[in-house]
Symmetry: C2
Subunit: 503 residues, 2 copies
């Protein structure tokens, strides 16, 4: 009886924390989509208030007592039970949160909100000077945040751990080194071949037709617009405002088909993950995707493994041509397929092809580590960026816009802990897809018929529905029968790109 | 010193309450504009949470102690000082709020949110049956809310007092009887004359051109889009999401020019009031318009006294014709002026002309009082509505959509306390405008030149900037030198409509 009452009280408290968190997301969504310029200062204060209220409630000592009270009972329900998982994950969040003072969280939220707003204007204006002191402050606050969590091997492990439970600076470095060793020879060989012709992707693509086509595709994937919507932002994202309200954003370029289309598929992948979590977990910390890396595996799976595959376009290409009758330069299916998979070292991470993409991530991971360790001053970041991207990819950004200012992460959040998850996601996306193909047998043919139900069903069964019940390694092992491995990813890239480039 | 610290603490607490209130407004705005269907349940819970958090903070006993501590000092700053007003208004809010249990506020907020969402679907579907039990519950909750405030002459005085400080059921009844006595003969005489021809307002008016024209006009009034924006909703409204973020909404009918245009002018009037409040009052309960009636006087002033005047269209009509080159049926300025001022008893309050409008308000005021007093069952509301509108206006609604379901108020808020302010606003709008014309001398000529700066300056000086520092009667007396009177309003209507209808 006492345990029942304590568990009910714990869940009631967690529900309030989740509702506060969702309210904060509404304010964030509005800030990025429709908020007028003049609202920035007040919004920053409102966001900081809600964030600190959520933090105060999570760190309220009764939470710790309630957890102590219900843990033996919850564990007795079995490791895989919702109850045991709830207690496990809540304790982890609680133990992490109580180390960080509420006043710090408030200061951080106010700062990142102001910085984000400044970045929205500074990036198009190519204005690094404005962002420099803001980023310096962000680096300082990121260090301070990490410092609240002692006992890690590397002082910035806690920032990574926040996004990827159990992952460390050392583990990421090892994995990245391995992956780099597999990628660089492939990139070198592709670059020695004639470049693919992607002129069919450039032309005049009316925004409305782009939006309509993208929405038809993601609807067919299974993204539910009655519980979602799509808006435009400078930097596309997915956001959950509550159960039944998971939104995506995108951006369009009139002269470029692929930017808006693949952003939409990508964000819909994130959104379907959130939409697919078991409703029984709503109102608890389990009602979210498990880690940033697993989340990214779902967006990349739909964007790349599905959306840039030949079977996919065997079904969709005729429809695309009908949507844009006067463009695409008469490209046939195979020419189009080659165009959307053109490998070409470039400046902007989000525009990068699958093969070079991870080098962009490694660059950011290394530079942010240098900034956090104090080996790189923010003032020197643009130069360091230019030097590194020239070495890695042979290109030089002509401005800050497509250099050090290009990603929102450092300007709208902390420095450290975000970028590695993109590459972890890529690696997992191929491992999950290979397992789904093995289990479903007919997967390529299904995709070629525009049937996405079986794939989404497999993902729901093995990944989506569990929310945060399992860690990333557990999800990988359960879904694929193997521990995390770069082999399926390298094999996917080699099997796809070697024939395409005649290697 | 102790007083200084207490005043600073009081202001800090009030700032938090205001920030919570604004966060709630962001959620409400989103709920009416862009939220997908599936988000309704979670949003209701989030709104209820924020609302109850604000209520808890306002009713926190230290607020009472801080008020006691700072009152003598604040009053010593002079009755008109910001400090004295802050203490006066905060004490009023506090004394009212502590009478209402937090659990009730939460229940009310959850219910009105669910009811509002149901009404958004039920009104277009003409579905009163769905709304009936919801409205019954709203009536019950409205009664319960009133019951927390004893000591009033009429049990529903507190609901009116909430919107209109010091106003009572009896006072409203007296004022309405007087006004009705002045209006009915004018309406009867106008209806005996040939109807005005308003065909020029009907045709094909592309939405985008309507929006552009409306926005140009309200920009010229002085509505600041850098601190605001306009979106579409079923029921237009103005909402403040924070300092520097005061938004309006409107709706458009492709076949009717006046609905969208005058809604926009109306809501911009509300918004300019909020945008014009002295920034020094931000973060306190003074940073809002003083009462619903004074607010409505500002929307009606810009919509009607300015926007339906002949001088206004002497400047704008050529521009309107240019915006809609293929419509307006070749109507000349005077024909257009007669069309937008056509007096014709009709079904829908928000479409009603200036002369019959107040009879719609009186109908609602009487019916809601009957529901609250238990003399009218919700089940009988549609019949009672039909009977009353037939008696007063000679028209009969063919459905619920334009009958008892037409206004959001009873379905998205409480029953009682809202409608009387529309008529109070009309009365005050004419009194303020007459005073501005007297002070500015050249007002009609300024409006005829498209110059709204002097009028907005007068309104800012006498009304906007004060926020809630003064009550409605004080504002009227200070701005016009006279107590509230229906004389300027009846004289405005008679001077405008008698010549127009050859009376």
């Amino acid at each position: 009886m006492a345990v029942d009452a304590d568990f009910a009280e714990l869940k009631q408290r967690l529900r309030t924390i989740e509702d506060l968190r969702c309210a904060e997301q509404v304010l964030l969504w509005d800030q990025s989509t429709y908020m007028p310029e003049g609202g920035a200062e007040a919004r920053g204060r409102q966001l900081a208030l809600l964030s600190s209220m959520g933090h105060d409630r999570l760190t309220d000592p009764p939470i710790g007592k309630l957890l102590d009270s219900v843990t033996p009972w919850a564990e007795a329900q079995g490791t895989d039970s919702d109850e045991a998982a709830l207690v496990r994950v809540t304790r982890r969040d609680y133990e992490r949160a109580i180390r960080v003072p509420s006043s710090f969280m408030r200061k951080l939220s106010e700062h990142t909100s102001a910085s984000y707003h400044a970045w929205q204007r500074a990036r198009p204006a190519n204005d690094f000077a404005t962002m420099r002191p803001l980023l310096e402050k962000t680096v300082e606050l990121s260090r301070e945040l990490a410092s609240f969590h002692p006992g890690y091997a590397h002082p910035f492990d806690p920032l990574i751990d926040l996004a990827e439970d159990g992952m460390t600076v050392d583990a990421v470095r090892t994995l990245f080194a391995e992956l780099r060793a597999g990628l660089v020879p492939l990139i070198d060989q592709i670059c020695a071949r004639p470049a693919a012709d992607d002129r069919c992707l450039h032309g005049d693509f009316p925004e409305e037709a782009q939006r309509d086509f993208g929405e038809i595709v993601v609807r067919s994937f299974g993204y539910n617009f009655e519980c979602g919507r799509q808006d435009k932002t400078a930097h596309p994202f997915m956001i959950k405002l509550g159960r039944g309200d998971v939104r995506i954003t995108t951006r369009y370029r009139n002269d470029d088909l692929s930017d808006g289309l693949f952003s939409t598929l990508h964000e819909a992948g994130h959104a379907m993950y959130e939409q697919g979590i078991d409703g029984a977990l709503d109102g608890t910390p389990l009602f979210h995707g498990t880690t940033a890396g697993v989340h990214e595996s779902q967006s990349r799976l739909w964007e790349n493994l599905v959306g840039r595959s030949l079977p996919f376009w065997e079904y969709w290409y005729a429809k695309l041509k009908a949507a844009f009758p006067s463009t695409l330069n008469g490209a046939d299916l195979h020419a189009f397929y080659r165009a959307i998979n053109k490998v070409s070292p470039s400046l902007v991470r989000t525009d990068a092809d699958e093969v070079t993409y991870n080098l962009h991530v490694m660059l950011r991971f290394d530079l942010e580590l240098e900034m956090l360790e104090g080996r790189l001053a923010v003032a020197d970041l643009p130069d360091a960026w230019r030097a590194r991207i020239k070495t890695d990819l042979g290109v030089i950004p002509p401005d800050h816009r497509d250099g050090a200012l290009q990603d929102v992460h450092w300007y709208g959040g902390i420095v450290g802990g975000a970028f590695q998850s993109y590459t972890l996601g890529n690696i997992m996306s191929a491992q999950f897809f290979a397992a789904a193909r093995r289990d479903l047998r007919d997967l390529d043919a299904q995709i070629g018929r525009g049937e996405f139900g079986p794939l989404r069903g497999w993902l729901t069964e093995h990944i989506y529905r569990h929310g945060r019940k399992f860690t990333a390694p557990e999800i990988v092992e359960r879904a694929t029968g193997e521990p995390l491995s770069i082999a399926p990813y390298l094999s996917y890239l080699n099997n796809k790109y070697r024939p395409m480039y005649g290697l």
